[in-house]
Subunit: 377 residues, 2 copies
């Protein structure tokens, strides 16, 4: 396996900044990956995603295998060409969506059989088929091993056997992936909220050897404190020299606290989903543009962010668009939110590089708490 | 009154090309105005509307007076600033939407009282209030007189009394509009499908004197042939030296045939509405991207149009986006459709300027008929 060059330029406490260098371009870390579920980052043009500061996006194996179909994407030149995104793409393995969206799942050692939430057709995902879809058919730059995601809370015995299954699938995924020059494969740590299970999972993955390591099974309802605790004992088990990816997280405060614990990569639907529901993210938390207080507010969302959606449109106009249910509301708020998330990552990278991450983190927590307090009033 | 300079650069048969010069920029004619109903051309950024070739857009008085409210728009700096469109804006009078959308209308000599389709609140539009909203509060570059629109078919007696009411409202509109340096007012010809009524309406308006003349009361179900016939006898009654505007029309073939009859300006929701329903316009008619035939078609919609939506995305990708119900489907198809409409206007202007409009029109009709035939097969 040829792991992408991962250059750590600066370390500040447990936080690190650097870049993961792929043939399709460098990913500045800590990195946030906007989610392009069905081959589109919802309500955004690919050029906007790039200009907002994203170096890499995430694609969903589950959605793409069902529609338009992985073989079809391949015949059309692969996912990058299909959706006009020439930067790196990370695909998930499909496991999480089978667990959260599909119906009538049947888990076996071999893999998982499920019915599509779109048309009820039957499909099977095995570690080998997931790699084939991600690496061969979609052409992902970074593929993820197939894993099983456990709910929260999860009985210890269930968490243990599921984690062990994910470990066996990790080995099969690596075997199926083989040796590729221009593509990487990440393993996924499971084990729910049990310290020893997380440690055994991490150690098993490191023994097998992956190009990067993800922490899975979080952001499933365990809450902020528990998530932080799991990171506290899981991240130290992961190799310093390879990228660490916290899957499906999260709110801005989650990102800051996870970076403080040594995480390098994130993905989350939050910025685009919130944008479709009239919300704009800020250091003070979410802002609901539908609120009457914005009806005649001629200020922009955030003039410090170099994005037209953040800088050039008034809150009064956004309020009107949200109230009127206009497409442009979702378009502008999704755009702002992605730009805000990417801007936040850039600010963290700069703070780490300057050795000022502690004070950045403290100030951010203050602003977040202030926002929470004012929303509660 | 200071009528905008209207320069007719070339005449070819009854078709004319030139420009209407407003303080916010020149409008190249024949012109197509994308419709920005609720202060947004649906699913498009204002920059895209401009880059697609639109010199002017239309705003809807009815929608804007109900939400966000005309006085609010004024407090926020007027419609141009509110929606970030710095080119000219024409507003309709609100009459057509009262007729087609509002409930419990009460028509009187004074004006029309109606209930909002949004929240049931009562509102009143008079010729004077319509001018106040359009010219004073929204700040339209071109305002339209308040008129009454008749259904099709319409008994002669009803068409006659309605046309006469619209004429009286035209005079009151002009009186209310007064003398403005940087804004214009257009009158609207009514009279349904009765030649003598249309002529009396046109003559009455010309006598009063307007900066431009619109043909109203069409595109209400009368059909292509009848629309052409009404234009045949109405347009010659309008002064050669002022712009002529066919309201609410239409399909590409309608535009070509109306230009051939001497029309200079158009507006229609068709390109954006079709775009939200998976349709792309072409010289051959509408193309339904949902059709299975496009599932693996890697060609773009129309590489001859200098617009990313027309040139850079494959039909296979658009097919996928439409099937998946993605925002980007409406965004790209609306963008292509507006660019196609504007490109069609540019082609007509060039053909008229070169004295080749007859052959352009013939070729266009051939392509349109070919498309209709192949869709019927």
């Amino acid at each position: 396996m040829s792991a992408f060059l991962f250059e750590i330029a600066a370390v500040d406490g447990k936080a690190r900044t650097g870049q993961l260098v792929t043939p399709r371009g460098a990913i500045r870390t800590p990195a946030f990956m906007p989610v392009g579920t069905a081959a589109t980052v919802k309500a955004l043009y690919p050029e906007q995603v790039r200009q907002a500061g994203a170096d890499i996006i995430l694609g969903n194996t589950y959605h793409l295998m069902l529609r338009p179909g992985a073989e079809r994407v391949q015949r059309l030149g692969g996912l990058h060409r299909f959706m006009r995104w020439d930067g790196p793409i990370l695909t998930d393995s499909g496991g999480f969506q089978v667990w959260s969206l599909a119906q009538l799942r049947k888990m076996e050692e071999e893999g998982v059989t499920f019915k599509s939430h779109i048309d009820g057709t039957s499909h099977k995902l095995t570690p080998e088929r997931s790699i084939e879809i991600q690496a061969d058919l979609l052409g992902a730059d970074i593929s993820m091993q197939l894993d099983e995601c456990t709910p929260f809370p999860c009985p210890r015995q269930e968490a243990e056997s599921s984690m062990e299954l994910s470990l066996r699938w990790a080995k099969r995924s690596k075997e199926a992936f083989g040796d590729r020059e221009a593509q990487n494969l990440f393993g996924i740590v499971q084990g729910s909220t049990f310290e020893d299970l997380r440690q055994r999972s991490a150690q098993g993955l490191v023994e097998t050897g992956f190009d990067g390591y993800a922490v899975g099974g979080l952001a499933v309802g365990e809450g902020f404190e528990t998530m932080c605790e799991v990171l506290n004992y899981t991240v130290p088990e992961l190799p310093h020299e390879r990228p660490r990816y916290l899957m499906g997280v999260g709110k801005p405060i989650d990102l800051v606290e996870a970076v403080a614990r040594g995480i390098d990569m994130f993905d989350c639907v939050m910025p685009t989903r919130s944008g479709r529901h009239g919300q704009a993210w800020s250091d003070y938390g979410p802002v609901n543009l539908k609120n009457a207080q914005f009806a005649e507010d001629s200020d922009p969302l955030d003039p410090a962010i170099d994005c037209p959606a953040s800088r050039d449109y008034s809150k009064a106009y956004l309020h009107h668009l949200v109230r009127a249910g206009e497409y442009l509301a979702a378009m502008l708020l999704s755009w702002h939110n992605v730009a805000y998330y990417e801007h936040l990552m850039a600010r963290m990278r700069a703070a780490i590089a300057k050795g000022e991450f502690d004070s950045f983190r403290r100030d951010f927590n203050d602003r977040w708490a202030e926002g929470r307090k004012s929303r509660a009033e």
